[in-house]
């Protein structure tokens, strides 16, 4: 499969995430769109890892070139899990204080 197809597909997913962050006002949906962007990047990292592996296999048959990309994806998932737990706690705290999860309420933080 040509690598351009993966790039186009991941760009489309990433742009959908950006559109969601810019247009929706619900804090939870904004957060879910951030997860969507993270997953698009993850898929592109795996595709690039397989691309480099295919190129390196022709030089050396037993190589593990490209395995770093998949490990980066693993660490991105670790960081995303930690981020989601803290972010949802922040959203719950915000809902407890304002009884709304509209992100426009967050500009009251500056006063």
């Amino acid at each position: 499969m040509p690598i351009q197809y993966y790039i186009y597909f991941c760009l489309a997913l990433f742009s959908l995430g950006i559109i969601g962050v810019l247009t929706r006002r619900n804090a939870i949906i904004v957060f879910m769109c951030i997860e969507l962007m993270l997953n698009a990047v993850n898929l592109l990292l795996v595709a690039f890892s397989k691309m480099h592996h295919a190129a390196a296999l022709q030089a050396a048959p037993q190589t593990t070139a490209g395995i770093e990309g998949q490990l980066f994806v693993f660490f991105i998932m670790v960081v995303a899990a930690a981020e989601v737990s803290v972010g949802l706690a922040i959203i719950v705290m915000m809902y407890r204080n304002t009884h709304s999860i509209d992100i426009n309420f967050l500009n009251r933080l500056k006063n």
Binding site: L36, T64, M77, V86, D102
Partner: protein, 167 residues
């Protein structure tokens, strides 16, 4: 068109359609369910690329743990009937315009990049995605980041408890 190509197109179309449904759903619970569909499609892509460990981890961590956390939070807040309060049409228009321009600029950039022509991502072959090779690399070359991530998890757990508790 062989089976792998048609699977690729099917999974891509499923993921993009579900991502659009995440954006346009009024009910946040429906958004979460569509996002789970996106994660299943992306796991299918991982299987197609023979990254089996990442496919399983994606299902367990994302579609399992994180989305259940989202569902719990939505149901704790009782947001089911509540629509978004204000509809600003200009904001939506400009959001879609800026996202579309971002997509257009990057697609045209990729289309004229000469380095990418002829490169292919290897489907269904290659064994770097198997758990044996990933585990060897994870516990030899990447053991320090692995341990640091456990400290990160501990601090995230403490942070979530401290932020979320009633004071």
């Amino acid at each position: 068109m062989n089976l792998l190509d048609s699977l690729f197109y099917f999974l891509s179309a499923l993921a993009i359609f579900s991502a659009i449904m995440v954006l346009v759903s009024k009910n946040p619970v429906h958004s979460v369910l569509w996002l789970i569909t996106v994660f299943f499609a992306i796991s299918g892509h991982y299987v197609l690329l023979n990254a089996q460990f990442l496919a399983i981890v994606n299902l367990i961590v994302y579609a399992g743990a994180i989305m259940v956390l989202f569902l719990f939070v939505i149901m704790l807040m009782n947001l089911n009937a509540e629509a978004e309060p204000r509809k600003n049409l200009w904001l939506k228009l400009f959001g879609i315009l800026s996202g579309g321009s971002f997509l257009m600029v990057l697609v045209s950039l990729v289309r004229q990049t000469a380095e990418l022509t002829g490169k292919t991502a290897q489907l269904k072959d290659g064994n770097i995605g198997l758990i044996k090779n990933l585990g060897k690399a994870l516990f030899s070359d990447f053991v320090v980041p692995f341990e640091i991530s456990s400290v990160l998890f501990l601090s995230a757990m403490v942070g979530a408890v401290v932020i979320g508790k009633k004071d």
